[in-house]
């Protein structure tokens, strides 16, 4: 899977008219990058800070970015072997559901901070709130 950076994604996102400051999109509908349907990539959703469920009484609207999508399942020899051993029950500490991820997963490469003014007119900063780039790790 490729690494999608925020610049690339914004280009895709902005040209689709999503980041038009005059539109409010329903916060329930996330956007996708225009590349391919479900590739690992940076996605975003328009939300008010209060809707992040972090406990802030703040109505500033932000673009919350996150990583989602599928990573191509390139299994290494290690992955194959662990899979085999699990089937055989040779790895008792990895339970039935595993606690083990086979194949790479889509994760943020770096994050962005956010600062905002809440409804009581106090400033807040939340570090590393949004993802700023995604990649398939592992």
């Amino acid at each position: 899977g490729g690494e999608s950076t925020e610049e690339n994604d914004n280009a895709g996102v902005e040209s689709s008219g999503f980041v038009d400051q005059l539109d409010i999109m329903s916060p329930q509908i996330p956007t996708r990058s225009r590349r391919s349907s479900n590739e690992c990539g940076l996605r975003s959703v328009l939300l008010r800070v209060r809707d992040l469920d972090l406990g802030y009484d703040a109505d500033e609207t932000i673009l919350f970015k996150y990583c989602g999508g599928e990573c191509p399942r390139v299994l290494s020899n290690h992955d194959l072997t662990v899979g085999n051993l699990m089937v055989r029950g040779a790895l008792p500490d990895l339970g039935a559901s595993g606690g083990w991820q086979s194949g790479p997963c889509c994760r943020p490469t770096h994050h962005e901070d956010l600062a905002f003014l809440d409804n009581a007119h106090h400033w807040h900063k939340v570090e590393k709130l949004s993802a700023a780039g995604c990649t398939c790790v592992g």
Binding site: E6, N10, V19, Q21, L22, D23, I24, S26, P27, Q28, L46, R48, R50, D51, D53, L54, G55, Y56, D57, D59, E60, T61, I62, L63, E112, D113, L114, A115, F116, L117, D118, N119, A120, H121, H122, W123, H124, K125, V126, E127, K128
Partner: protein, 466 residues
């Protein structure tokens, strides 16, 4: 002294042509002036000019200006420089070596002016009348504002809560540059107790330099219809760090301090030039075609010693001012009041800000569909006793910080839980509970939750004591 000055200029008019050969005016461009950095370089390349420039710089260092100019050598140097491109040089706003350019400008002009003048010429390039695509002519806006009765709610949908300053924050948050720069200055200005004012100022200047004025001016000049909006607007520059101070200096003292710094001095001169109250124009601004020039020069003061801000929470009859007073002016009180009045009672500035508000409203008057899934916002953003739900919320990631409030004191009598101002977040995000936000569903504080918390706290304390 002045007679001599004018005579010199008159005589040297003829001499001006001789310089045309020695200096290549390649850098002038269509506008006919060079920037002061280029002009200094040109002067340094010319042997005559560079020696005179050196002499003059030495003349100006440290010594009393008047005694310096009595020196014949210094005067001679000055004469020569008057006809060099250095005299006409200006600086471009936001240019790469802006500070260096401004320093050059003032080093030349310090020798030319008496100093202590009320208004100084601005080193920045004169603003061209710009046909902004969606800006209306200022005169027609002003006349419209005065003849037509002002709309009660300038936002499009009278039923919905309207907060242009919140909309401006949203617009900023949706633009990468604005969001990053805004988060940066907010973080800098909120760091430490006490905060670092110098760093905060620098961060503010950086914000205003790097972010397009469409976003930054929206945040600074959003029009307000209620107290909540006005307080948000007042908070934009994080005033408790960048604006307020323990001591309020005298305005003329502050001006003197400002004029010792080439950047502040330049920005002040620029503000005076572009926002000078003019008699014969409808808007009172010198440049009717481009009232935004006044707004831009006002914004240029933010992050300098002469940082201005809204000084009260009033939304309808707001006032802007630097952090200074005219107390203790002695016999200079009139001059002080006049200087302060250029901020507090400046019709051009006032009209420009109001016109910006009108233009902004027309941008935001598109009807917005209200998603039904969003919870209903409280009708007004009250600045009163809102509480911080963080106090009854087991905490989240390490990095959630809350700063000491600079808003109105929390009023316990109304049954609200006031946020703990020294809240130190614990690690881990386990066991979070959805906080009961007192204003979340539009109802006042939920007394039951308050009592539940009090009871749980007392029982916890009791069990600890045992």
């Amino acid at each position: 002294m002045w007679m001599y000055f004018y005579l010199v200029l008159f005589l040297l008019d003829g001499v001006a042509f001789s310089w045309g050969d020695s200096f290549s005016l390649a850098g002038t461009g269509a506008h006919g002036w060079v920037d002061c950095v280029t002009a200094s370089d040109m002067c340094n390349q010319n042997p005559q000019c560079s020696s005179r420039y050196r002499v003059m710089r030495q003349c100006l260092v440290g010594r009393e200006r008047d005694t310096m100019l009595a020196n014949r050598e210094c005067q001679a140097a000055l004469e020569v420089l008057l006809v060099s491109p250095l005299y006409d040089c200006r600086c471009k706003r936001g240019m790469k070596k802006e500070l260096q350019c401004l320093q050059s400008y003032w080093s030349i002009h310090m020798g030319l002016t008496e100093g202590g003048e009320f208004y100084e010429t601005s080193p920045y390039e004169p603003v061209m009348p710009v046909r902004h695509p969606d800006a209306l002519r200022l005169a027609s806006i002003i006349s419209g504002m005065h003849t037509v009765a002002p709309k009660a709610n300038t936002c499009s949908d009278p039923g919905k809560t309207c907060n242009p300053c919140l909309d401006a924050a949203k617009a900023c948050n949706l633009n990468n540059t604005c969001k990053k720069q805004r988060s940066a200055y907010i973080a800098t200005c909120n760091k430490g107790n006490p905060c670092n004012r110098k760093r905060c100022h620098k961060a503010l200047r950086q914000f205003l330099d790097r972010v397009p004025t469409d976003y930054s001016h929206q945040l600074l000049f959003c029009p307000c219809q209620d107290l909540g909006c006005a307080e948000r607007r007042r908070q934009t520059i994080v005033p408790f760090c960048s604006f307020e101070d323990k001591v309020k200096p005298n305005c003329l003292e502050l001006r003197k301090t400002c004029r010792q710094d080439p950047l502040c001095r330049s920005r002040l001169a620029d503000f005076h030039m572009n926002c000078m109250v003019t008699q014969h124009t409808a808007s009172s601004c010198p440049n009717e075609e481009n009232y935004r020039a006044c707004l831009a020069s006002y914004a240029g003061l933010i992050g300098t010693d002469m940082t201005p801000n809204y000084i009260d929470g009033s939304y309808s009859n707001w006032t802007v001012s630097p952090w200074c007073t005219c107390k203790g002016s002695g016999n200079q009180e009139e001059e002080c009041e006049s200087f302060l009045g250029d901020f507090t009672e400046n019709m051009c500035l006032r009209n420009a800000i109001q016109a910006f508000g009108y233009a902004t409203d027309s941008l935001f008057s598109k009807p917005e569909p209200v998603p039904t899934s969003l919870s209903i916002k409280p009708e007004l953003e009250t600045t009163g006793s809102t509480s911080e739900p963080l106090s009854n919320h087991t905490d989240q990631s390490n990095a959630v910080t809350r700063w000491k409030g600079n808003g109105p004191k929390c009023n316990l009598s109304k049954g609200y839980i006031c946020g703990d101002e020294n809240l130190r977040p614990s690690s881990g995000f386990d066991g979070r509970t959805r906080p009961k936000s007192p204003l979340g569903d539009g109802s006042p504080c939920v007394f039951a939750s308050v009592w539940a918390l009090v009871l749980s706290l007392t029982s916890a304390l009791a069990s600890r004591a045992l």
